[in-house]
Amino acid sequence: MSALLELICPAGSLPALKAAVDNGADGVYLGLKDNTNARNFSGLNFDAKALAEGIRYAHNKGVKVLMALNTYPQPDTVSRWHQAVDTAATSGLDAIILADPGLMAYARKVHPNLRLHLSVQGSATSYEAVNFYRERFGIQRAVLPRVLSLPQVENVVNNTDVEIELFGFGGLCVMVEGRCLLSSYACGDSPNTFGACSPGHAVRWQQTPKGMETRLNGVLIDRYADDEKAGYPTLCKGRFDVQGETYYALEEPTSLNSMEMLPEMARLGIAAIKIEGRQRSPAYVAQVTQVWRAAIDAVKKDMAAFKPGSFKPEAAWMAQLNKVSEGSMSTLGAYYRPWK
């Protein structure tokens, strides 16, 4: 039977991986300690030893391990990405998550049995694009950017054999992933090549008479009054001035939470739900994994009992998720069309 609502959880470290595995993840995703993945932050990710230990731990409990190699290789350093693919192929990983077609071609040619997933960083929003990767490289799953409404997702699902994975919870990219250069415009490093948005080395926090200021490479992203909680200066979530009005011009500091749409996602046959947050703590991973495990199990139980529509997220679950959300707020994002 094909996958349905597998719970795929973030593992930024070995403790986070164990937290995900112990709390009910069906799969975890991780990256290596360099710019071959889109969470290239210091202190995160896996070296060879941690990778081996992580795979052993997860596989012992029947949990899959996926590796994100979802940045874009560059001319002088392509070999780093090739080596990462080789590492993935020989380490017993269950799949690799790629964005770059050139890298897919390499993986397909050198490791034809390695399972390939299309990363959200590949920016595929239509079935024509998804099917391109299918025909050309035999991808088995695609993670869709957080820009489509659910009916638009349904149209993709209905026109491809590729399994579809959707983001369920966590930090919300407002822009099409893989098509956002705001970070490199401000500070020189982008998710596509460097593997991080608004990277730590460019961030400054400064208490001033006007309030706490957060800057990215000198650009003022936001300023907080004493009674406001200062957030990380992700530049699409700052307050800016447009025509004399200061507001969150692109998006509020908020997290995606699509839990109430789980029954609909199940009806569409969505193969997997991805939880964002490799940069978050093991405690976050444990909490979020536990809540989503319970929710997905409840939805599947309703389906088995032919009781569609009976699922409602429990208030306690939502409260727990809101506690760990950015700015303690959440949104349905683009899944709910009026958000657009």
Partner: protein, 332 residues
């Protein structure tokens, strides 16, 4: 122009050698005459203004003109039939016409519009996402690989060539050293042309959300086409009044204007075949003339910033080309 280097934008770990002007070596690619192209109109103007703009453009010293709506499917004042009619006229005026396609495909009607462009077959098409690449390759039609296809390495560019791309536009953030390394690769066919985004506000990001509608407290589906009120987009300033970004519907652009005018000599030796100039609502013809004069040698590259100063809707930047923050600027 009294242009300044953004001092805070130079991380200490970036060596000064990045600022060196000297070419680091010849490209393996042919060195024909560098041509000028007019990129697709990224804003939404009235039908009259759009048609008048292209009527003028027919007389500008351009080699290629990209037509079509690439940003938002709700923008409908010109239908495909109108663009095709314009394409015929501009072809008759001696321009190469390229039909550029939508960058973010969300719905079946977006795909339908894309298929119509591909099916027409009279003009070269620019593919801006991989669905378009698939359709064009199926048809066996040559195409331009747009910058949002993210060809960051020779393998991906070689794949695009295999699928029918005859020209590529590097990602706008790609620095010159990387462009040169791409062109030096034996994996990339000799005949592949390179077109560089050389002038205009940089298209930096695409979203499902319309930020112009958000500014006016409207939903995207009922946006009342407010983009029409902002012919060069809406400037987004920091809370200390620095022009930072530009809102253009679902697209976010830089507030500064990328200009490589003062670097044309270097672009030529780097093997760039076409310089893309991105439309703005005022003085576009004069911008084209400045670039043409630079290419013919009628004016010196060093004088370009001064010539363009009054023609630009914002301060200049060229940081991406130097491998720095895109907003940085280094006048020669």
């Amino acid at each position: 122009m009294n242009a300044t280097v953004a001092p805070a934008s130079l991380p200490a770990n970036k060596p000064d050698s990045r600022l060196a002007l000297k070419d680091t070596g010849p490209s393996s690619h042919k060195a024909g005459a560098t041509r000028l192209s007019l990129g697709p109109l990224l804003y939404y103007w009235s039908r009259e203004d759009t048609l008048a703009f292209y009527e003028e453009a027919a007389g500008w010293p351009l080699d290629s003109i990209y037509l079509g709506e690439t940003v938002c499917s709700r923008r409908h004042l010109l239908r495909l039939s109108d663009w095709l009619e314009l394409a015929e006229k501009l072809t008759a005026a001696g321009k190469e016409v390229v039909l550029s396609t939508q960058t973010l495909i969300e719905s079946e009607s977006d795909l339908k519009a894309l298929r119509k462009v591909v099916a027409d077959g009279r003009f070269l098409v620019e593919a801006n996402e991989w669905g378009a690449v698939r359709l064009l390759a199926e048809k066996g039609a040559p195409f331009v690989a747009g910058s949002t296809l993210n060809a960051y390495n020779p393998d991906t560019l070689a794949l695009l060539a295999e699928m029918g791309a005859t020209r590529w536009v590097p990602p706008v953030e790609m620095p010159r050293d990387m462009v040169k390394a791409m062109l030096a690769s034996t994996a990339v066919p000799e005949r592949m042309e390179t077109e560089l985004f050389a002038y205009g506000r940089l298209p930096l990001a695409f979203s499902a959300r319309c930020f112009t509608a958000r500014r006016h407290n409207l939903q995207k589906d009922d946006c009342q086409f407010r983009c029409l009120d902002h012919p060069d987009g809406l400037t987004m300033r920091t809370r200390e009044s620095e022009d930072f970004l530009t809102i253009n519907g679902i697209q976010t652009q830089s507030a500064k204007v990328m200009s490589l005018a003062h670097r044309v000599d270097e672009l030529r030796t780097a093997g760039i075949d076409l310089l893309r100039l991105s439309p703005q609502s005022r003085h576009m013809g004069r911008v084209v003339e400045v670039f043409r004069a630079l290419l013919t040698g009628d004016i010196a590259a060093a004088t370009a910033p001064e010539k363009l100063d009054k023609l630009m809707p914002g301060l200049p930047c060229d940081g991406y080309w130097l491998g720095e923050a895109g907003m940085a600027y280094h006048p020669m």
